[in-house]
Amino acid sequence: MVSSELVTGSQTHTAIETVIRLESSRLIAGLARYAGGDIGIAEELAQDAVVAALEQWPREGVPANPGAWLMTVAKRRAVDLFRRNRELERKYAQIGRALDAEVDDGTAALDRVVADDIDDDLLRLIFISCHPVLPVQARVALTLRLLGGLTTAEIARAYVVPEATIAQRIVRAKRTLSAAHIPFETPGGTQRPARLSSVLEVIYLIYNEGYSATAGADWMRPDLCHEALRLGRVLAELAPDEPEVHGLVALMEIQSSRIGARTGPSGEPVLLLDQDRAGWDQLLINRGLAALARAEALGGTRGPYVLQASIAACHARAFRPEETDWARITSLYSALAEVSPSPIVELNRAVAVSMAFGLAAGLALVDQLATEPSLRNYHLLPSVRGDLLLKLGRAVEAQAEFQRASELTSNTRERELSAQRARTAGAQTEESSDNPGR
């Protein structure tokens, strides 16, 4: 046997850690139901089972069904814990008795870890982690921790904040959920749309932080994009009847298809219309179009994610920038402005209008947004305005707008891009003054 075929100690260790990471969210989800929805207790029980696995698996090997093994060990700990703690015992008396019966009957307990039940628990865990009672940043951290299986250190690195900050957000979030007695359930009825919308918002926030980092030296953090996309794909299978879930997945798949094409050789951003479309990932485009078709097949009113995905699909379907159906994009932005009105949507609609119906029409819409308070410090407003002005031959004004755009963004790469565009506009100013005849 050659040495590369030998399993080394460190390989075993990595393999075990990987199994645990893959099982982590389902384990916590299953345990949360037994802990009466207290995800803090669920996480502690899961941690106990993980410690047991790290002790036993290196000696005895990874069991055939590691998820069921971890769940059984954690449930035994739960019984111990509930027995020890009178307060908890009263609270969870019923759960404790049910657990007793289940754990005593060893093999049956393994069989009873039915995949469908765990799927439901996983969906409940997603809903509770994204509960609107929590501040948005806490929802994001909790989701990455519990559903993504990321460590607090990994989350902190991704968001360029101290690890203690993330740890504190997670601790507080668990406390808030517990104090507010948030039930561990899949919300239905009138609650559902708002709760689902919070879940989608959290996933898309994670995605966007990866797609266009708000701080730091790199323009993108692809790991966050992948994590959000993975969460979206998981959610699409857990809640297959929700068009907006498929809409969000479609949007992320299509945006991800451009990840390789939207930065230049030295990491600088390349704008959508300047990208080499041969570099777009057709596999992800096809997956995105399929997800969009799934959303459309479900019918109903088109929500914000389905509409945004439809816009992304218009770009994805155009082999060359000049083939883009701008008139359709304009009408999709109008529909989007109706279901989720925002100055940013209006700004994007203005860009589409400038492409479909002329620069002047677009600029008129952008100028209407100039007094919008929420856009006062939004770097893309001067950036878009500068672009339209430059194309209209008003280089002096364009230069000032790009300059302003570069001052407004805290992302290094984006700042450089705007500064570069300001210099280009400046050069055109000189060019036209050199050649007054033109």
């Binding site: 393999a15 893959l22 055939a64 993975r230 979206g232 299978e237 990932d281 596999l283």
Partner: protein, 113 residues
């Protein structure tokens, strides 16, 4: 990270004869991996004896059709996985082989366009 995992079932790496039970279990396994957001695309590979080899050397093409000697009628399979690291790809491949009942899979990292 993307990995292509494939089991070619060529004569050098035999795999167990598939049974209806194995196919059913494999269906469940693929559904589980899809639910986990891991499988981007997956499919089967026709038996080795139906394979065609196309070679290009010294400016000349050679097309060699099967059947080849000693070829067995065994199908293979492939899956394009999206995972966080290689260790995850290895773990999913182990789970696949456990369902298949034996054999050898190769995992290669693949890149986008």
């Amino acid at each position: 990270m993307r990995f292509l995992g494939y089991t070619l079932a060529d004569p050098t790496t035999p795999i167990p004869e598939p049974t209806p039970e194995m196919f059913a279990k494999m269906g469940e396994f693929v559904a589980e991996a899809t639910k986990a957001g891991v499988v981007l695309a997956t499919g089967g590979i026709a038996p080795f004896e139906e394979a065609t080899k196309v070679r290009y050397a010294d400016g000349e093409f050679t097309v060699i059709d099967g059947p080849y000697t000693e070829a067995k009628e065994l199908v293979g399979g492939w899956a394009l996985m999206e995972v966080r690291d290689k260790a995850e790809a290895i773990e999913w491949t182990k789970r696949f082989l456990a369902v298949a009942g034996g054999g050898e899979s190769t995992i290669r990292q693949v890149y986008g366009p």
